[in-house]
């Protein structure tokens, strides 16, 4: 069975979430891999959320907001537009392919486009493979085993 990416989407309430809704009402077909978290604005998306999602096992994170200039909150998407590159760079430096973090503008009317974006992103992550973070969680059993293997206590 092929790898099914686990994707988290942060969608702005006014454009992208509505666009996703439209994609639904319009019966647009797109892969089910994206799990959507609604935020009021793409400007609400804290890089922490993205890192958290990645740390918790997401293979990719998609952030969608209104097109530049169309923000319901005037300019929230511009803030997102500035935070995302820095996040991607950070992620990249941490040894994670920055393509796993993506920002897309999807308006309320772009249901079809939303479908396309999700499909495309899913395919891309699929091609990148799963993101298995090395030694993220601390494994006490392994540590204890190592200690045991050492043959007892330090002096």
């Amino acid at each position: 069975m092929s790898f099914e990416p686990n994707l988290v989407g942060f969608l702005c309430n006014w454009c992208s979430y509505t666009g996703a809704d439209l994609a639904g009402t319009a019966r647009v077909k797109y892969p089910p891999n994206l799990k959507v978290i609604r935020v009021m604005c793409s400007g609400r998306v804290d890089p922490n959320f993205i890192l958290d999602a990645l740390a918790r096992g997401a293979d990719g994170v998609l952030v969608c907001g209104c097109h530049p200039g169309d923000c319901h909150y005037v300019e929230g998407n511009y803030k997102c537009q500035r935070r995302l590159p820095i996040t991607r760079m950070l992620v990249g430096e941490m040894g994670i392919d920055p393509r796993r973090v993506r920002l897309e503008w999807v308006s309320a009317s772009e249901g079809v486009r939303f479908g396309e974006v999700v499909s495309e992103f899913t395919e891309e992550i699929r091609s990148l493979g799963p993101l298995a973070l090395q030694e993220w969680a601390f494994d006490p059993a392994a540590a204890d085993a190592q200690l045991a293997h050492q043959g007892g206590e330090h002096a």
Partner: protein, 584 residues
Amino acid sequence: MPKVNITVDGRPIEVEEGSYVLQAAEALGIDIPTLCFFKYVKPYAACRICVVEARDKRGRTRMVTACNYPASEGIEILTRTPRVMAARRLNLEMLMSRCASMPVLTALAGKLGIDQPRWGTGTDTCILCGLCVRVCDEIVGAQALGFASRGIDRFVTTPFEVDSDACILCGACAALCPTGHIRMEEAGGRDVVHSEITLGPNAAIAVPFRQAVPNAPRIDPDFCVHFRTGGCKVCAAVCPKECISHDDVERFEDLEVGTVVLATGYQDFDPTPMKQYGYGRLPNVITSMEFERMNNAAGSTGGKILMENGKEPGAIAILHCIGSRDQNAHPYCSRVCCMYALKFAHLVKEKTSAEVYQLYIDLRAFGKGYEEFFHRILEEGVNVIRGKGAEIVRGGKEYPEGTLLVRCEDTLAAKFREIPVDMVVLCTALEANHDAKDVARRFGISVGADGWFIERHPKLGPVSTTTDGVFLAGVCQSPKDIPDAVAQGSGAAAQAMSLMIRGEVEMDGAYAVIDDEVCSGCRLCNDLCPYSAIGFDETKKTSSVNPALCKACGTCAAGCPSGAIRALHFADEQIYAEIEGILS
């Protein structure tokens, strides 16, 4: 101004001190002839025809000009004494000896009892009354005309006696010239004479068209002398009700409102780029709106259906779906065309004996009584052809001059048709206003792919929008006919009212708060808020959010490096929990 009592030819009158004797005489109905006087320019007292005798209280008599002699207490004015009449006559005779025989002079001569001017007449057509110069200066403000030279050589001219750049071609000089010495020559003036401009081609004041709302004259600043030169304002002086103001200017009003109903409508689709229909190229190919205007009793033809040559057409084709349901233009159905096209057919049948052809794709007679109307049209003998008009061409020699051939595929008969007609009406699409996007952006709402405003929810929120308090009505949301537009408008109004009647807005509790205990006052958040909801307290050295201004976008919460800002309802914990939830 204090009042004074004077007499004119023995008749007493009370007038304002300093007002001119001529006015007093006029008020008494006493005629004093003038040549250089015009009510709306300053008295000039050059022609001296209006001389009268004025006797002051001390009994001193002197000859004064009535046009500019100020009234003072107790003066007696005598307008027809032998001395006055002799002076008027002699002055006129002297003027006539230089000037050509012109009505304005001969009429005055007759009035003054001159049968034959003693020195005959001359050739000059200018009487140097200066009305033109003064109107150009005082009223028009262009100062294009002036007197040149002096004494007997004095004459009226533009500088250097060539066409003046200062002249605005208003024609005021020519209009006031009592002799016809000044004429307007063709100099690139307005050539359009349209029956709807009721006060003539150059009238700066006109009712825009007959059924204009409000149906009142307005000043066209492009033609009003005042707006071109700062002068004139004669209209304001003559208006007895003092209705005219030149100071009104276009201005932006800031209205504080709680709710907004957007009813910005639509624009007509321009069929010019669709070359196959020849709009703008072929005669008598008109749009539905133009046909509607023609049918209006107050319209350009007075409601008659006429061709460009003024004759009634013998056959008319009405083409549906021009720009609608067309992948090359608008894919959507404009919804109203079918029914108005049927109405057109009915009107044509009613007003003319023309043959009518309806060319349609599908007939969508969906409303109450619409289907019945369709049947009535059929009974009226309208030819209804299922097939979209494909092309309009000029008829060949075998057809009468001006014949248009409408080509289409009759899909019911499965054959190609070429219909000769005299007039074609294109039922053009309704399309979103070109600036709908800008409007949407201004109100924080969205437009769809077609440019129509997007409602909050197609079923549950058809008149509200994603911005609280902003509602949609009419075609700006999507094409609809009048009953639908009225219905939606009523809905929007009701929703707006329901908000307004409450008088207050309940906030939904979603806003950002800054934890005073955590905020370090770095001020990184201050500029993030587009609503200026975040302020900095200089004494506490911390920032805080005004919840009434906050729209809960959460940008600040994301941007607070100290974690002091919390976006209620979308708090970090909630989102982390969501992340955790969907990934577990």
